[in-house]
């Protein structure tokens, strides 16, 4: 009897240990990946600057001769790599000597890379920034929100509250659930066909990107919204109906307020997924070198993940750290969005709560 009990306790302990081990393993992998990105990406936020007057032209960034960039001017990619890592790359021995000379005169320095946040894409890593891609992501996400949110919520409310329970509706439900699991690149193909070839919208624009991502987010929003609507207890509805409320009043006064935390969480999470999405946007031509930030929904635009993809296949060494730096910014934004979802959930749960 006691030995049996001891055995059962031992089993439980082992089970707990295995769980803890899995958790640690997952954290370890996460730590390695994140650490690697952090180590390669942090130098992107600092760049080498040279006092423009005292340096030979070819040590500065390639465009310094056309635009006055102030007293301290960004050094060329090769100089940047040399100053940060001591790696000579394509520099000649004379060049590295003149850099050493600049160093001793305090005419070369490492400073915060503000241009990384205010510049758009460039073929020179020392001049490239994420501003254009950030703006493109914002415009794209706005279109995604404006299309997916009303249509998704509307469809979910109809299906959950009003739709007759017949075979057609079951078929539609099954299709929506399937669509939520379809690989995102297929939505890219759909977007290419529907919006670009059929309607003829301009090719790499935030409008087309947003509509495509909207299509992609739609099924997820419908599924999560329906889940939170169905979690509202039936007793609540019956009580409201019993007091003489119309079905519409029940819906808007009781069901939706109670389900709101769940709905908002679902919407924010699917928007976060849309923000990090690359594959469908590759299909609709947002993988381009676009150096001018978009000023409207129809302008050529790219988004942050695609910008990262583009940089990752550039030959210059400087783009390696830029790539990781942009990944850090993207992770930060995604983290903030997920935090917001969590916050909304916690805040409203205590007030209406289910």
């Amino acid at each position: 009897m006691t030995s049996n009990l001891r055995k059962r306790h031992r089993q439980e302990k082992w089970f707990q240990r295995m769980g803890l081990f899995s958790l640690c393993l997952a954290l370890l992998f996460l730590g390695i990946i994140f650490g690697k990105i952090l180590i390669t990406g942090l130098p992107a936020f600092f760049k080498t600057e040279i006092e423009a007057k005292s340096a030979p032209q070819h040590l500065l960034n390639p465009y310094a001769q056309y635009v006055d960039q102030g007293k301290w001017t960004a050094a060329s990619d090769a100089v940047d790599m040399y100053y940060k890592n001591g790696y000579p790359g394509t520099l000649s021995p004379q060049d590295s000597q003149s850099i050493e000379a600049l160093k001793s005169q305090n005419k070369i320095r490492l400073s915060f890379n503000g241009a990384f946040f205010t510049h758009s894409d460039s073929s020179a890593p020392e001049m490239a920034g994420i501003w254009g891609a950030l703006l493109g992501s914002l415009l794209t996400l706005l279109i995604t929100f404006l299309t997916a949110f009303p249509i998704g919520i509307g469809a979910a409310i109809y299906l959950e509250e009003f739709a007759p329970k017949n075979s057609h509706i079951y078929w539609i439900e099954a299709t929506i659930n399937n669509l939520a699991a379809v690989p995102s690149i297929l939505f890219g193909l759909l977007g290419l066909l529907a919006f670009i070839h059929f309607i003829g919208l301009p090719r790499p624009s935030a409008l087309v990107g947003g509509l495509t991502l909207g299509l992609m987010s739609l099924p997820v929003i419908v599924v999560t919204t329906r889940a939170s609507l169905s979690a509202v207890p039936f007793a609540l509805k019956e009580a409201a109906l019993g007091l003489g409320a119309t079905p519409l009043q029940v819906l808007f006064h009781h069901v939706i307020p109670s389900a709101l935390p769940g709905i908002t969480t679902g919407v924010i999470l699917s928007l976060a997924r849309a923000l990090g999405e690359t594959a469908p946007l590759l299909m609709i031509g947002m993988v381009a070198f676009i150096a001018t930030p978009p000023s409207s929904f129809l302008d050529p635009a790219t988004v942050l993940p695609v910008q990262i993809f583009n940089w990752s296949r550039s030959p210059e060494m400087g783009f390696v750290e830029n790539t990781s730096g942009a990944i850090l910014v993207l992770l930060l934004i995604l983290g903030l969005l997920n935090g917001l979802a969590l916050f909304i959930r916690k805040k409203f749960e205590t007030h209406h709560g289910f």
Binding site: S123, F289, I290, A291, T292, S295, D299, R313, E316
Partner: protein
Amino acid sequence: MFKKEWGFLFFIFLFGFQIAEAAPPLRLAGSSAIFPFAARVAEYFHYKTQEPTPLIEGLGTGAGIKLFCEGTRELDGVMASRPFTETERKKCEQQNIDFQEFKIGQDGLVLIEKKGSQFFPIRIEDLRSAIAEKVFVKGQCLKNPYMIWSQIQPSFPVLPLRILGPAPASGTYDVLLEKIKGPCDSLLRHDGIYIEAPANENLIIQKVLTAPHTIGIITFSFYEQNKNRIRALSVNGVLPFLKTIQDGHYPLSRPLYIYIKLNDLSDHLNRLLYMREFTSNDAIGKSGYLTEKGLIPLPQSEQRNIQKDLAQLFKTGGSS
């Protein structure tokens, strides 16, 4: 309470839907081997002329040409790492697209390996035996039987064959196929020995660095930027240098082209301005910025001819 939010949304709409006043930028698409050069020229073009920065898309030569020939409005130019094929030319003519070819320089395909691995000189025939799907053995075309380098040449090391290179949609793949063409008409092998890496040469370099005994096939500009980590193999006894590729001694070299649309040229003179920047001495001269990035410039006489062609186009385009 809600009014404020609506006002904010309205403001975003105003900001979003304002119509851009500037002329639409030039648009080029095509080979990802030319993409870095075209992007660099686009920026210089912007800084020098104050025109909007052209839009460059690296889709691969085939996809670029397809888009180029879809209509007169779609693209202003296409970057191609091989000339138009006959069918592509016909399709373009059917759409009434008039275009001019500009040879902008040369490029080499470089066989690379990790620095410090065993060096062995390779010949075109060996490369064919290594990556072609069908090879000519004992008087007939057979499915490629080679699995180890030493099976191809007894002097080669006893190492498994493993080669990473371009994928079918790219012009680089077509050129590679053309270069290793033998008695058997075949594609590159599909049995896992030759691994296709779609449009990402950094990936090939990474793989070559991490997996031992892997040979990668990349373009010269990527080799130039990563010389400190990788080494080139000699082909037919010639190593890839600027000079050997330019004078044609290095066997795996190819010309690079840009095709520019000539329809309604008088309204699109910026196409010619862009090409003028591309073929200027600043860009592809002896110490031009593209030359430093790894583009192999044309011989000077050819460059002068192109500049003459451009000047001629300026005259006819400006007057018509």
